[in-house]
Amino acid sequence: MSTQIGLRGKAWFQAFTGKNSPMAGDPGSLLTADAQLGEDMARFLCVVPNPGARFPCARRGEVGLEESYTLATRVREAIEQDKNGKKRPIVAIVDLKSQAYGRREETAAIFLACATAADAYATARMKGHPVIALVMGNAISGGFLTHGYQANRILAFDDADVVIHAMHREAAARITLRTVADLERLGHEIAPMSYDIRDYAKLGLLYKLLHVESPEKPSPQEIRTVQGELVAAVADARVGPADLRNRLESTAAREMRKASILVRTKLEAEWLEK
């Protein structure tokens, strides 16, 4: 990994919203702003590193207690403000380290904190907000489950610094009793284990891969292009169902998630039997 966590997130948050600071009362690790996106006002959210964070294990771009509860607050605020009107798009910019791995976090039930944010995102989606995740860096494990994985559409930048995964390489190797080299080799053979975003795309979970020339310092042209892609994803989400079935219906999913589709078909048939 060559790029620094949060660098891209910050750059694109600023590019989309013209802002680079948290909302009043929010921790320094969570950027939220409303900004024009096509014909909509959209809400953008991004978790960024905050070296001065109160929680020592959540200073490098991890999603911890404060980040989760603030995400939940800001997403629910948008739901509440739009309850009688047009549902604004909600864009999760994802460039995070992982969830926070700390004892303070476990003691104070970080799993519940994460759940409040995931609940808020899913609620927004079910109420008709187009929820878009734009992955431009790492989207790892509980961090991604909390911030982004409840989106109706997931877009990702197509380059080597974009990693969507359940666990970073070293930890996954240790837990599965393999070497990092073995893990890398297996990743090439077995798509769900791969750390390569193009292999991830084969799973059928992504709406689109976007090629961006300079993801750390986007040009005005690149910003317009990505905004255009977000607008298209928003429009597509608005005409589609509010659940996650598109992740199983894509062409790639029909190939790579055959077992999932088989389970659903069989279970539905057996469910209906008397």
């Binding site: 004892r103 003691t107 999932s260 389970v263």
Partner: protein, 291 residues
């Protein structure tokens, strides 16, 4: 003196922990009401484990029973902790999601169908990494969709506990029941020790692990609902009691403001004492109830 009088009560218990996932699920449903869906004879196995020379299971460690609890339609979905530590793979995840979605569909059509998840899981099955993570996101989405119509229960009995992404999913339930032996947490002790060092978490310190993640603590601090004895009839009765209560007015995972304020009030300069935290959160909750 009769034999029963000299045998201690705990000896007469029917341990739930000692049951496998299938027997656990069966013990919670009305006798004779259930049938298993996509069972082992359907032989839907993980396509990814054999590629890595790991023996799959014919049920992928996820058991789905459709039947009734207290006469009401219910589906029980149980993870087998003895197979790959109950980890979520493509097939086990798809079983859980499909069952939740069908319960939601029936509930929407007027046949309220509750779901009970028996979670013994380390979270994502790392051999199916990204599909494991994806199915957990899908399980979460399906739980939330069902929860609009019918209560979703999580029972964590032990001894694996409920960790990783599935701990986040558990927190979306309407009710969580735990035994004293069970644990609930996002990051397992070994993972924290590896990521943040032994000074942050000594994973060999079992007293510390249970003080933080144990059932008594989680129920005591109010992030789980009922502490149950490791006894199958007791757990079945507790489940029926919660079922009578029905959907909570507000789910815990919607109580953002309450928990945001609690976190803001924590002293983060040192480690948080689990027992003091329990006392202070419990006190607030009780005061909130009496108001």
């Amino acid at each position: 003196m009769s034999y029963a009088a000299v045998v201690p009560e705990f000896v007469r218990r029917q341990s739930f922990i000692e049951l496998d996932a299938r027997a656990r699920a069966q013990s919670l449903m009305d006798a004779g009401s259930w049938r298993e869906l996509v069972g082992p004879f359907d032989r839907v196995e993980s396509p990814w484990l054999p590629m890595q020379d790991i023996a799959p299971e014919s049920d992928d460690g996820c058991i789905v029973l459709k039947g009734a609890i207290a006469g009401k339609p219910a589906v029980v979905i149980a993870l087998e902790g003895k197979f790959q530590a109950g980890s979520m793979g493509e097939v086990s995840g798809a079983k859980m999601t499909a069952a939740l979605d069908l319960a939601a569909k029936d509930s929407q059509n007027g046949k309220t169908t509750t779901a009970v998840l028996l979670l013994e899981t380390g979270g994502v099955r790392l051999q199916e990494a990204n599909l494991g993570l994806a199915v957990i996101a899908e399980v979460m989405a399906s739980m939330l969709a069902l929860r609009e119509h019918a209560p979703v229960f999580t029972v964590i009995a032990g001894t694996v506990g409920c960790f990783g992404g599935m701990a986040i999913a558990a927190a979306l339930s309407s009710y969580i029941l735990m035994t004293r032996e069970a644990r609930l947490g996002l990051n397992g002790p070994e993972v924290i020790e590896q990521e943040s060092g032994i000074e942050e978490f000594d994973s060999s310190d079992h007293a510390l692990i249970w003080a933080i993640n144990g059932g008594e603590q989680r129920v005591g601090m109010g992030v789980a609902d009922e502490l149950v004895l490791d006894d199958a009839p007791t757990i079945a009765a507790a489940l029926r009691r919660c079922l009578t209560t029905g959907l909570p007015q507000v789910h815990r995972s919607q109580q953002v403001q309450l928990y945001r304020e609690r976190v803001a009030a924590l002293d983060t300069l040192q480690q948080i004492d689990p027992f003091s935290l329990r006392k202070s959160w419990k006190k607030e909750t009780e005061e909130g109830v009496t108001q």
